[in-house]
């Protein structure tokens, strides 16, 4: 029943859109009408050496995409489709695929290997393809098989191991697979292609090899083979072997000790003399070890002094030789690495690794790095000066302030002068180093800063000069200013130190954002983001006038964006980016000025004009809403309160659009947040819009497409709406409550071993409680009876959460509050429901003993509400 589809597959890749679309729809029709026949035809196409490579390639891709998808719901769907296909057809497809591995066209082999792995990932856990492993292993052991088949088979084995768990197979099979792979890697393997395929297969099979890594003898053997391969004649094999070592550094860190001497020797030689592709992997090995050790240190018990048993302190032990090796790499810069974003070279990898080493070991790195800095920083060769500066910058995070501050104080003046260096790389790295100094060693709020009233003027003078330098240097300078401003936030009287310079800083940042000599928008975004931080962190009492003046400047810039000429989609994207930056600045200004009674009227007076601008930004697009404009509107609604009502009619359609944006879920999430802002601003005046909003929110909740992170905010939003419109929420009860109840049942069944799910579960619980709280409070005065039938379910949910050991403080707060709301709204009606429940005594007791005043206060209130409910007869 396989059909000849070569022509369609070729036509589907035609440059002519009409032909392409027709072919795509024909293929789609075939798939929809007869999926088994369609898949079989694809496998026939892929396996046939007489067919063109192009049609075979597409057949393989379509086949693979019929078995797997990124999105979980779709993936599950595809799996079900495959499982339900007739077994004889599936056998035929699999057999065509296995035959393809022997093809002389390597691309077809490669595609078949991937498809086989996808089928294996479905069928092996279900024990529906027991013969696969045996067939693949036969390709490796039978003496007469060609090298190309062995190569393809190894690749397949690697992919299969990556897809499945070793628990899906019996241990003998696991061992046999690894034996075949490791044998292929061995020096005795004459064919370098096979040896490379085996090394790559092992890389994919490292997780799968868990049991074998637990066994010392097997582990020793695997490690020996990898280390041997790291010395292979062929660069690609050496690179693949180092990739295995990098992966092992994180997967099997705890058993690495006996091999470290050998690995150090290998990596050290690779860094010094091997091809860059290999040397980069060698450096990455050490970066990965740093990642592991920093993570172990994060979980360390600080008091015991003794860290967990698995911390081997490899970095600390290797430090005296590792640091000089990394310092050497710093001198191998590319001439144009600052201009090209795609560059990743040995100097960059080594510098990054040195930063990680400093964070891992702290103070100990300083004496090893400083002699290098001192020896090189004044040399005539720019590479020496840049490397010295980078080395200095890389050790600023990790070591203690006490260790660093004398050096930084002594070196700051030199660095400031170096902003005038003749070389662009040196200036770039100097600006980066300065920004790190201000990020890490400028914290007036906690009492330490390298910036003093005496040197502040010189620092800012130089930075504001250098912000006019090349775009890549200016971008780093923006970073330095960003951290200076951040340091002065909430720093008491020293906050005022920056105030006299702010006007100048703001002017320069706007001028920087307006520069046209940069190839991309990175400098402009940096300038605006720095401007935001400057505004956000400034002392409003001293700077309100400046910020008030900034408002019309930013408004007129945003107004100008709608006059930009838009010809291409690229122009549209650029316009959108610029609008994003400007809406961001306006959002920050709105928030800053509306935070004080004195300046709030400024926003209220400008609100009409600001809103017009935001609506114009929305109007620039047809299908999506602008995320940043939405975010800024939330701030405006909060600032204007009831006055926001007059914008609703115009704004509502964009709000609807935002709430329906499943693909860009951040936009949807922000729109949901804005609904909350509007409810609080308008109170019951939001009522006319609620039917529409509730319909969309309910749709969002039932959508399988929408990112799950948006769902908790939607429940909280139910509470916002109910609190605003009170008794009018009645008509939504029959839709909203079932959703809340089924979500609370989902909470009950969540996997509490998955940290991410625990976090999500907490968010969901909190938001469901917030929804109930809003509804109960909204109904309290008139329609509390409506909630009576739902009270037992809520109570049961509170009990479930009260007994959950993963519950976090914010969930506890919401649970206790909703308990009080229940008693407050329903009064004595709740008495019988509480009859056999003792959990709340314990919950209240726990909260009343908490150190959190807010929690205590809420619990006291709830206790009062319960007391009142129980004291009334009836």
């Amino acid at each position: 029943m396989a059909l000849e589809i070569t022509q369609y597959l070729l036509a589907a890749q035609s440059p002519d859109a009409k032909i392409r679309t027709e072919a795509e729809s024909a293929l789609g029709q075939f798939r929809d009408q007869n999926l088994p026949g369609f898949l079989l035809s694809l496998s026939v196409e892929l396996s046939n050496d007489g067919k063109p490579t192009e049609s075979r390639r597409l057949a393989g891709i379509v086949l693979k995409n019929s078995l797997d998808a990124k999105e979980a719901a779709r993936k599950e769907n595809l799996i079900q489709q495959w499982v339900s296909i007739d077994i004889s057809i599936k056998s035929q497809i699999k057999s065509f695929l296995l035959n393809t591995l022997g093809s002389s066209v390597s691309e077809a082999c490669h595609t078949a290997a991937q498809v086989i792995a996808k089928i294996a990932s479905i069928e092996i856990p279900r024990k529906e393809w027991p013969e696969l492993i045996g067939l693949l292993l036969a390709n490796m052991t039978q003496p007469d098989r060609p090298a190309s088949l062995k190569q393809a088979t190894l690749e397949t084995l690697g992919y299969v191991c990556e897809e499945i768990s070793h628990h899906d197979l019996v241990q003998d099979e696991v061992n046999a697979i690894l034996t075949a792979v490791v044998q292929g890697m061995n020096v005795s393997e004459a064919n370098p292609e096979v040896r490379l395929a085996a090394t790559r297969a092992l890389f994919n099979a490292l997780d799968f090899a868990q049991t074998n890594f637990e066994n010392e003898m097997e582990r020793n053997y695997i490690m020996k083979v990898i280390c041997d391969a790291a010395l292979a004649k062929e660069t690609e094999i050496r690179q693949a072997a180092f990739e295995c070592l990098v992966s092992i550094a994180s997967t099997y860190y705890e058993v690495l000790e006996p091999y470290m001497l050998r690995i150090f020797e290998l990596t050290s030689n690779a860094v010094k003399g091997d091809e860059e592709a290999v040397a980069l992997q060698a450096v990455e090995f050490w970066s990965s070890i740093c990642d592991e050790e920093m993570e172990l240190q994060d979980y360390e018990v600080p008091e015991s002094g003794d860290s967990s048993a698995s911390h081997s302190r490899f970095i600390e032990k290797a430090l005296p030789t590792l640091v000089p090796m990394l310092l050497e790499t710093l001198l191998k810069q590319d001439e144009d690495q600052d201009q090209d974003d795609g560059t990743w070279n040995l100097a960059m990898a080594g510098g990054t690794c040195l930063c990680l080493v400093a964070r891992t070991v702290g103070d100990a790195v300083v004496p090893l790095v400083m002699p290098f800095v001192e020896a090189n920083i004044s040399k005539t060769e720019w590479r020496a000066r840049e490397a010295a500066t980078y080395a200095f910058g890389s050790i600023l995070e990790g070591p203690s302030t006490e260790k660093l501050s004398p050096m930084v104080n002594a070196g700051l003046d030199f660095l400031l002068s170096a902003m005038k260096d003749a070389n662009g790389h040196v200036k770039d790295t100097t600006a980066w180093t300065l920004s790190r100094i201000f990020e890490l060693l400028h914290s007036p709020a906690t009492g330490f800063s390298v910036i003093t009233p005496a040197n502040l003027q010189r620092i800012l003078g130089i930075l504001l000069d250098s912000i006019k330098d090349a775009p890549h240097v200016a971008e780093k300078v923006c970073g330095a200013i960003y951290y200076i401003a951040q340091g002065y936030e909430d720093a008491g009287t020293s906050s005022s130190l920056l105030t006299p310079f702010l006007r100048d800083i703001i002017t320069n940042l706007i001028a920087t954002a307006d520069r046209t000599d940069s190839s991309d928008s990175k400098l402009r975004s940096s300038a605006y983001e720095t401007l935001n931080e400057v505004v956000r962190c400034s002392n409003l009492a001293e700077t309100s006038q400046m910020i008030v003046e900034l408002l019309p400047v930013m408004m007129s810039k945003l107004e100008q964006t709608s006059n930009l000429q838009i010809v291409s989609s690229d122009d549209r994207e650029k316009q959108g980016d610029l609008q994003a930056s400007l809406c961001g600045v306006l959002q920050v200004i709105i928030q800053k000025l509306s935070s004080a009674d004195e300046t709030k009227p400024i926003i209220l007076q400008a609100a009409d004009q600001i809103m017009v601008l935001f609506l114009n930004v929305f109007a620039c697009r047809s299908s999506t809403v602008h995320e940043e404009a939405m975010l800024a509107i939330g701030a405006l609604a909060y600032a204007t309160g009831l006055e926001f009502g007059k914008y609703m009619q115009e704004f509502y359609k964009y709000l609807e659009m935002g709430l329906q944006n499943f693909e860009e879920y951040q936009v949807c999430a922000i729109s949901v947040g804005v609904v909350g802002d509007i409810c609080r601003a308008l109170d019951d005046k939001v009522l006319p819009y609620c039917d529409g909003i509730m319909t969309l929110l309910l749709k969002d909740l039932s959508s399988g497409e929408l990112h799950r992170s948006v769902k908790p905010p939607i429940f909280s939003c139910f509470g916002d709406i109910a609190l605003a419109i009170g008794e009018h929420f009645e008509k939504y009860i029959s839709y909203a409550l079932p959703m809340m109840q089924s979500a609370s049942e989902v909470c009950a069944q969540m996997d509490d071993n998955d940290e991410e799910m625990v976090e999500y579960g907490n968010q969901l619980r909190r938001s469901i409680f917030e929804a109930y709280s809003g509804i109960l409070q909204g109904f309290k005065n008139s329609r509390a009876d409506l909630m009576l039938p739902h009270a037992p379910h809520l109570l049961q949910f509170i009990e479930l959460v009260a007994n959950d050991r993963h519950r976090d403080e914010s969930v506890t707060k919401a649970a206790v509050a909703v308990l009080g709301d229940l008693a407050d709204a329903l009064g004595s009606n709740i008495k019988t429901m509480f009859k056999d429940r003792a959990f709340f005594t314990e919950l209240l007791g726990e909260c009343l003993q908490s150190d959190d005043e807010q929690l205590k206060e809420t619990a006291t209130w709830t206790q009062g509400m319960l007391g009142r409910a129980f004291s009334v007869y009836g």
Partner: protein, 343 residues
Amino acid sequence: MATHELRRPFKRPAISDQQRRREISLQRQAQNRRDAQHQARCLASTILTLQPAQYEPAEPDLQLQSETELIPELEIESQEHRRDLRDIDDVRQASRLKGVEARQWFAKQLMLPEWMIDVPERLNTDWYVFARPAGKRCFVVSSNGTTISRLRNGSMLHRFPSALPSGARTSKSSHSGQSYCILDCIFHEPDQTYYVIDMVCWAGMSLYECTTEFRFFWLNSKLVETGACDAPSSYHKFRFSTVPIYNCDQEGLNAAYTGPVPYVKDGLLFCNKHAHYQSGNTPLILVWKDENCSQYVIDTDSKGQVPNKQQVVLELLFDGKLATSDDPPVIFGCLNEDFIQEV
């Protein structure tokens, strides 16, 4: 198929200000939601006077023996005291209430006098007296750049800018959002003036727990300072005024009873110097009316003549008691249950 990403962020990773803005927005929204829900809860909590001493965390043994048994640690106070408002947080929240909630809240908050039917002990040493202005009794709340007056039933009388702290949106006012005032006033129509007869909160400070003596002292020293007693202007729509307050000695009584005041008198108010501000009727404030100090003591017709018959409006209270609809009501009888059933 998996490959290990070699590239790591180099030099300063781009600052994601957008993510930061998203997070700040979320925090603000969460905080506003908490405030809104907290505010809704405060309406309820003002009904209860919670005695913190009884909620020592050491004894959280809140337990239900049977469904009708009271929770022992919780004491619900009598009707009078329920309306007590002591918690500074609640007052601040109340100053921000809007709409129905504000009406409901303020309807319960005024301190109301009883009729003076005998002479209290130590009248001459422990009591103040003043001539009560005729007009609309109301609470005046200034907060967040505006001033709102609410009548006894909680409904709004005026919304206006005033020179009270946080009472108007002017550039010179330097009060933060924390600053607000609640004044007990009588709005006197003829001269469009708010006569302040008590001070409940001033510039964010609650005076509920303070004695009358202190409240009157504070009232007389603070109100003038703000310029609230000045003539109306664009940022100050109505004039505020204090009333002359006297000790209850013979001289003071005489001054209050016969002395000239710029307003129409409606009886004399007697206030106990040691009393705290307390919502609802209280025997610590007493009112006296006779024809010399109030035009409302006896009904008159449009020509000012006293008619032959005096009309009395009676109210049947929920518990069968009969009362006059005077302010305050006078209870003079009680109907029995059978009679109510028949009616």
